[in-house]
């Protein structure tokens, strides 16, 4: 990739709503990304490898569990800081943000919220520095949008639990030290268990052939009669609401992150349209290019306002799952559209790794699907406004 010249668009002076510390945290994350990740991201994307050496750096800039209290090794920042860090990471690459999102919202968050004091002290400080990496097992091969149908289960064997089943599409799985796994007990109630690498019967094969999120490692989690110590069960909460609350936190980060990808595409497209000349004038002087740019910045500005307000609500503990759904859905959609339009502005250059929009575009195809698909989030909004869930229906009898 060419020199990373990114500056964020701020059409409505959103920076005035941030504190000095917010800006310092954001600028620090940006400076780190420009120095450590931008120069190598394309190579890792092309080779489908995760840059393992940046994990400790992610810990240092506070990307792992930004809101985790200091007593557990976190920086105890607010939700807007968390969002800003995710925005800076995804501005570079969705895979980079995914790694941090999973560690923060899907591993540290459940341990912090639902873990015992011993579990918190054992795992959180090491997760915060990146010394230990975690993953989250909810999705199964046959249960994506319908996690309640999961078949992964555990039996109480007296002095331990016996865990069986398989999880799929798990970010960080190939190199994770621990997995927060959601499984049903004998009564069919969903519980969280911390499974550690090295436990007999636990394996994490990497999934290959992804044409999206190539700089992030994805794998399966396979449990074949894994003996899980009883103290590894998260005691604080059970039922589907427990993993869904983690997804609320992760989707909040994605809303900020996807907006970062959109801002990166716009920033490059604006610069390119002023530099590239055709017919002896910069292409930015053509109305059709201006239309694209004007629409992009309008959508970005609307999303910035939505996302910042969501951050305020989340800080106050008032953000609903449905509000988070709307922000995730909206921001990923506008990011995808903006990536495509920015790619067009770049003409043929836009398909090369010299520019990031094609990589963003491919990455966002995962982001629009994971953590609740685009359509499922629409149904969440639909249910929220009508009060009527439309997720399932009876199989029609085709013989009638």
């Amino acid at each position: 990739m060419a020199t990373d010249l990114y500056t964020h668009p701020d059409y409505f002076n959103m920076d005035d709503l941030l504190t000095d510390e917010h800006k310092l945290i954001r600028d620090t994350a940006r400076a780190w990304v420009k120095k450590e990740v931008s120069p190598i991201i394309d190579e890792h994307y092309e080779n489908a490898t995760f840059p393992m050496h940046i994990l400790s750096g992610l810990g240092e800039i506070g990307a792992f569990g930004p809101y985790i209290p200091t007593k557990y090794g976190g920086p105890e920042l607010d939700q807007i800081s968390y969002g800003l860090i995710m925005q800076e990471l995804e501005r570079c690459d969705s895979g980079l943000r995914s790694t941090a999102s999973v560690q923060s919202s899907l591993v540290m968050y459940p341990i912090w919220k639902y873990g015992s004091e011993e579990q918190k002290m054992k795992y959180l400080p090491k997760l915060a520095t990146g010394e230990m990496i975690g993953c989250f097992g909810l999705t199964e091969p046959d249960h994506g949008s319908n996690p309640a149908g999961m078949i992964t289960n555990f039996k109480d064997m007296g002095d331990h639990y016996l865990l069986n089943g398989a999880k799929m599409w798990i970010s960080n799985a190939p190199f994770a030290d621990i997995a927060v796994v959601w499984a049903k007990n004998e009564e069919g109630r969903i519980h969280g268990l911390v499974v550690e690498r090295g436990m007999e019967g636990f394996s994490t094969p990497e999934m290959h052939g992804k044409l999206s999120l190539r700089a992030s490692a994805t794998g399966e989690l396979i449990f074949e009669n894994v003996k899980v110590p009883k103290e590894n069960l998260l005691p604080g909460r059970s039922g589907l609401g427990a993993p869904l609350s983690c997804l609320d936190s992760a989707r909040f980060g994605i809303a900020w992150g996807a907006l970062g990808a959109a801002m990166d595409c716009y920033d490059q497209a604006l610069r390119y349209s002023k530099e590239r000349t055709q017919f002896n004038v910069p292409i930015g002087s053509f109305q059709l290019i201006q239309k694209k740019l004007a629409e992009m910045i309008t959508e970005i500005t609307k999303a910035q306002l939505l996302t910042f307000r969501l951050g305020q609500l989340r800080n106050e503990g008032k953000a609903t799952s449905a509000q988070i759904s709307m922000a995730k859905r909206n921001n990923v959609e506008i990011a995808l559209n903006i990536a495509r339009e920015a790619r067009q502005i770049h003409g043929g250059m836009g398909i090369t790794s010299e520019y990031s929009m094609m990589r963003h575009m491919a990455n966002l195809e995962s982001v629009v699907t994971y953590e609740g698909t685009h359509d499922i989030h629409l149904l969440i909004t639909g249910m929220d406004v009508t009060g009527i869930p439309a997720f399932t229906r009876e199989m029609p009898d085709l013989n009638k």
Binding site: D27, T28, A31, W32, I61, G62, P75
Partner: protein, 246 residues
């Protein structure tokens, strides 16, 4: 070792530059400030490296208003121990230097470090004026600084080579590229910066000796002329007669 690092703000390099009040004042509307890179990357980081190697403290000093606190906190996040802000709008090099010298006079600093210049005004004057006010030796544009006992050894880049000089502490140094490498603050530093002392001191009333008459923007970039590589004569002709650089 007690080290004082002078920290100034400068507009982010992507800022749109405009002027107000009949082109006599920089238009701050919409401008984001950063720590002047020469102060941050070279003076502050070298100060921190010396402190880490030899022990001591790093204090930063800024002449400015509360609006400068964000840049000061960044210097603290990078690792300075404490900060001082002389509560006055910075107006010219002499005023800034006299305020810093007045503060530093009886504090026993071994080293006073500044960036070689700010990237907005490019005056390169403050360090020399501080040295004069404090009656201390001054080395400008240093690219290397080591301290042994009370002796400092410094490199300066000169045309076609390097000049090595020695000076006794206490000493004032203006730092240029090569002195150190940029340090990105980490989260621990940002958190620690919240509680590090930022002392606001009353100015002694140092007065500016210069004032701005007007600012002018450089002429807009004109279109690039492309010349066929086969046609060197035309290039030479244009360089002579149109660009008038030969």
């Amino acid at each position: 070792m007690k080290i004082l690092v002078c920290i100034s703000k400068s507009p982010d390099t992507t800022s749109k530059i405009a002027f107000t009040e009949g082109n006599t004042k920089f238009d701050e509307n919409g401008v984001q400030y950063i720590v002047n890179p020469y102060d941050e990357w070279y003076a502050l980081v070298r100060g921190l490296e010396l402190k880490e190697a030899l022990g001591g403290t790093v204090t930063t000093i800024t002449v400015g208003t509360a609006a400068d606190d964000a840049t000061i906190r960044k210097a603290l996040a990078i690792g300075a121990d404490n900060a001082v802000r002389v509560d006055a709008e910075a107006t010219d090099a002499y005023q800034v230097a006299s305020e810093i010298a007045a503060y530093a006079k009886d504090k026993g600093f071994d080293l006073v470090l500044t960036g070689k210049e700010t990237i907005n005004y490019n005056g390169s004057q403050v360090a020399g004026m501080i040295a004069e006010e404090l009656e201390l030796p001054f080395v400008s544009l240093a690219t290397k600084l080591n301290v042994e006992g009370t002796t400092a050894k410094l490199d300066k880049e000169i045309v076609g080579g390097v000049e090595t000089v020695e000076a006794q502490l206490p000493l004032v140094v203006s730092c240029a590229k090569g002195m150190a490498e940029q340090r990105i603050p980490n989260m621990r530093g940002i958190m620690a910066a919240r509680t590090k002392p930022l002392e606001v001191v009353t100015p002694v009333g140092g007065e500016a000796m210069t004032s701005f008459v007007s600012f002018d923007l450089p002429p807009a970039k004109s279109a690039v002329k492309l010349i066929d590589p086969e046609n060197m004569d035309e290039l030479v002709e244009l360089l002579h007669n149109e660009a008038k650089v030969l």
